[in-house]
Symmetry: C2
Subunit: 347 residues, 2 copies
């Protein structure tokens, strides 16, 4: 491996000069710069970003920890972060906590050891409060992604309250009064927000709360399945089902299929997040579509913004943390009623 010293000696200049032509950081006579460039070419020199990072105490890299790399929505967010980060000339270090707080803590630790300039974090379901404090205490800029919280942190996610209420109204307009609302693990903020919005919608619309089945705060999928099956089999059957994530929708659809219930005649159906290429398949599912790629892009850009502020070091006052929520689009399709309309709403 060739070093700057080798380039310098070949070009007959000092290593300061080589460094300066490489980084364009001070004027160098065209003639000498030419010699340096030639020497770089001849030795096929490549700058050592590790040594550079060490000297500058800046790695030009950001860490991203997602809670569930298997979920298509998170894959899209990773894609968005990668896209934005590359455009900004930064490198992305990727880790996956697999919804495990311990692995999350380890990943944070590993990335901080690697001295990433900043961190984007989609927190695991049982994520410990103190990981956020720890990162901030370190002075490393942090952006929370998708899994938001009430703390004073920069965060980027989606709007959940308004779309949920709109979705419920849509179903009530179709005459539905009895819902099963499958929220799953409400330690996940996104799911909790959707559940809360559902409860709020019930109140707003003067619907009988006791007639609703809300499956929430349940950790294991098979328990959720059981509760859903029971809700569908017992008493007066609910006429509308809302699933709060892609996985939940998939499991719910399977259960519905097993019972030979037709959508939307036997039961109306809507889901959050939804499936890829969903317009190709029957039944067409009404979906609250999350702009996942854009969430990733926005998270990366917000982080980059903080990094720039920090590097400039101008403002003595800490900037106030920002919470950004992007708006989902509700794709109305046949699974939630006979009227098929398709209006992106603005929240």
């Amino acid at each position: 491996m060739t070093t700057m010293a080798m380039v310098a000696s070949l070009a007959g200049v000092s290593i300061s000069t080589v460094s300066h032509v490489l980084n364009g950081t001070r004027h160098v006579e065209p003639e000498t710069r030419e010699k340096v460039l030639k020497a770089i070419e001849a030795t096929s020199y490549r700058q050592d970003a590790v040594a550079r990072a060490m000297r500058r105490s800046q790695t030009d890299s950001v860490g991203l920890i997602v809670s569930d790399a298997g979920e298509p929505a998170f894959a899209e967010m990773v894609h968005g972060v990668e896209h934005a980060v590359a455009r900004l000339g930064l490198t992305l270090l990727l880790a996956n906590s697999a919804e495990d707080p311990d692995r999350e803590a380890q990943a944070v630790e590993a990335l901080l050891e690697r001295r990433v300039d900043g961190l984007i974090l989609a927190r695991a379901a049982g994520s410990r409060q103190d990981v956020v404090d720890g990162i901030q205490g370190e002075g490393t800029p942090l952006v929370l992604m998708d899994r938001l919280c009430g703390m004073r942190v920069d965060q980027v996610g989606v709007e959940n309250r308004l779309p949920t209420i709109e979705l419920v109204k849509h179903l009530v307009d179709q005459g539905h009064q009895r819902f099963v609302f499958v929220a799953g693990d409400c330690r996940v903020p996104t799911l909790r927000e959707r559940r809360d919005a559902f409860v709020e919608a019930m109140a707003q619309l003067n619907l009988d709360a006791s007639a609703q089945t809300i499956i929430a705060d349940v950790p294991a999928f098979d328990v959720i399945d059981g509760q859903l099956e029971q809700a569908l089999d017992a008493g007066p059957r609910p006429t509308a089902l809302i699933a709060c994530s892609t996985v939940l929708a998939a499991r719910a659809l399977k259960i519905v299929q097993n019972r030979n219930l037709q959508l939307p005649t036997d039961i109306a159906f809507a889901t959050f997040d939804g499936f890829a290429y969903s317009d190709l398949f029957t039944p067409q599912l009404t979906t609250v579509r999350q702009p996942a790629f854009e969430v990733g892009v926005a998270a990366a850009e917000l982080l980059a913004h903080r990094l720039a502020d920090k590097a400039r070091g101008s403002s003595p006052v800490r900037l106030a943390p920002t919470t950004t929520r992007l708006s989902p689009t509700i794709e109305y399709r046949s699974s939630s009623g006979t009227t098929v309309r398709m209006t992106p709403s603005n929240f």
Copy 2:
């Protein structure tokens, strides 16, 4: 930020000793190690991986460049690589070439500057030959993933020939003689291999090659669409359609739908790679399912193996490059005929 020097002075020992207790690299008296540990705790010291990497000329990181982060199959592979790499105690640097050879070259350059210990590369469609040579010339261990080639390199991908032939036989068994085979951009090795296998199958089965429509070597999706529409509308219509990737399948299905053709009665349908949660939807699609996650895991493990060999530095002879092909599973479903069977085959 606290450094080893600060820990050392607080503990009243040398920095060598601190380093050695941290890395367990030589015996330290229990009593002194206790003091060191206490000092580390008190200062909440965190090792600086950048400085460590620089000194050791080893970063304990690997770079991954995928050609199309939007494709679900690649998202799965990324997931697999991340999983394996984390288990091995390495960090993953992720980049996306977006099927653009220039961006691919830039990404390689950026990762080599960062001194990754090794590189996993799913090459872009028009990938230049010399990127592989360049990396190998550098002495950086390299594993090609999914997009394989004929060079002497370590590579991990999927078996394409045998499954393709088996799929075609299955369709011929159902009585099909006229195919449209949508291969797309055959600069992509995976697609080219599937196309070649189709041609081979035609010969093996003594089918009239001139009765087949092969859409291949076409760069733009709209041109592919046009050729497919023409094939479906003109002359005696093909009775079976095979799409070589998820995107191609999605576009083909749309065209089929637009013409109100029913699967499998009007035309039989099968696809490679396929859709997530595909068992939930009608029509159920016969799919040659790629073990994408496992491909990622295998690529990472092969790379780790090479890194270990290199670190040991034992063998004076270079180990011969390995090509691993994992076997897809063919999911036979109703879209390719009335007989629904579901047999994972072994190739």
